[in-house]
Subunit: 205 residues, 2 copies
């Protein structure tokens, strides 16, 4: 069985960069936006549209047709969301069967639980996230600290809602992860080296 | 300034053992029950008594003396608890000034925050904690799984209450730690090696 590493991360914590470094150190494949690209290709939708659908928690609508039926009508948006989630599951399973890999986001820790992935959660203090957004990720240059902070918390909430909707688990529950790292005071390069060492030693390899 | 590592841990997660291994790898002093022994010595109380006082969240009693006063009377138990906590603070500061060290528990991450300690939280799945309690720590041999589970959760709750009472922070909040490690699937020896590497690389050294 291939070795899978999954990364969940707070927005602006450097989780994506850490994933890339770990993949490079271990010689594993790295998947991030590539998963959305493949879903878009197969579903014949644009990447932006797929991304939007996959990052929103679908809302169940239950219209009641008085005098006709009390059955909820199938919501086309909910169905689309479920179909794209299924496609995401298939694609994640394909890449996990292909080779050892690092996968960022996409509920991969839950979807690939049969592969016993090594599950990492990356977080950081708000000051550090604001700085990283502006300096490294080129996000929020035109926003005040307060506005950027709200945007960061909004993305976290979206990720958390989506994860909980799809998996039934709490995104922030440490028991869903093998290691949770605070990137505030640890350089990502050295953090990646240490985490790679833990991955090599972990029993679920 | 000396380098301080603090370890908070769920009961049965192997946090104490991990601390000992990290201290050995880095050549640091290691403090665990020694802190309670020193408090007992200076306060001229027994270790068991000190341990009990320091691990219980004191309850504020506010007796109202009708017709006399509405001022709360100073509670001798609360005062004792506060005095022992102050003694604990002094002793922790002394050991932190003496040499690089690893300190297990005792709210040391909070008390020594001026020293910018590297703060570790150790946790594990319940199955693993039950096993570790029985096999390694010799606890709960005469208890059913359910009873031992309740005892484990009770100790966690006590640690959490005491930490929150003394520090005003949440014990389980990941932002209070630099790294949180799940010891369920990672051998402690290798985990200690990796954590020691992260400590060496961290900026708060």
């Amino acid at each position: 069985m291939n070795r899978i590493i999954t990364i969940s991360r707070e927005f602006g914590s450097g989780g994506r960069e850490l994933g890339r470094l770990i993949a490079a150190k271990l010689g594993y494949a790295y998947y991030d936006k590539e998963i959305v690209s493949r879903i878009a290709e197969r579903s014949e939708m644009t990447e932006t549209y797929v991304q939007n659908v996959l990052e929103q928690k679908p809302f169940l609508t239950l219209p009641i047709h008085v005098g006709v039926s009390l059955e909820p009508t199938a919501d086309p948006l909910l169905m689309q969301s479920q179909e794209l989630f299924q496609l995401q599951c298939s694609i994640l399973k394909e890449v996990a069967e292909k080779s050892d890999c690092v996968i960022v986001g996409r509920c991969a820790d839950y979807i690939l639980s049969d592969c016993h992935p090594f599950r990492i959660f990356v977080y950081a203090e708000m000051e550090s996230r604001l700085r990283r957004c502006r300096e490294t990720e080129g996000v929020g240059q035109d926003l005040s600290d307060r506005e950027l902070r709200n945007q960061i918390l909004g993305v976290d909430r979206q990720r958390s809602d989506y994860y909980e909707f799809c998996t039934g688990n709490k995104w922030s529950d440490r028991l869903n992860y093998d290691i949770c790292v605070n990137s505030t005071n640890i350089p990502l390069e050295e953090l990646a080296e240490s985490v790679a060492m833990v991955v090599r030693a972990s029993k679920n390899s």
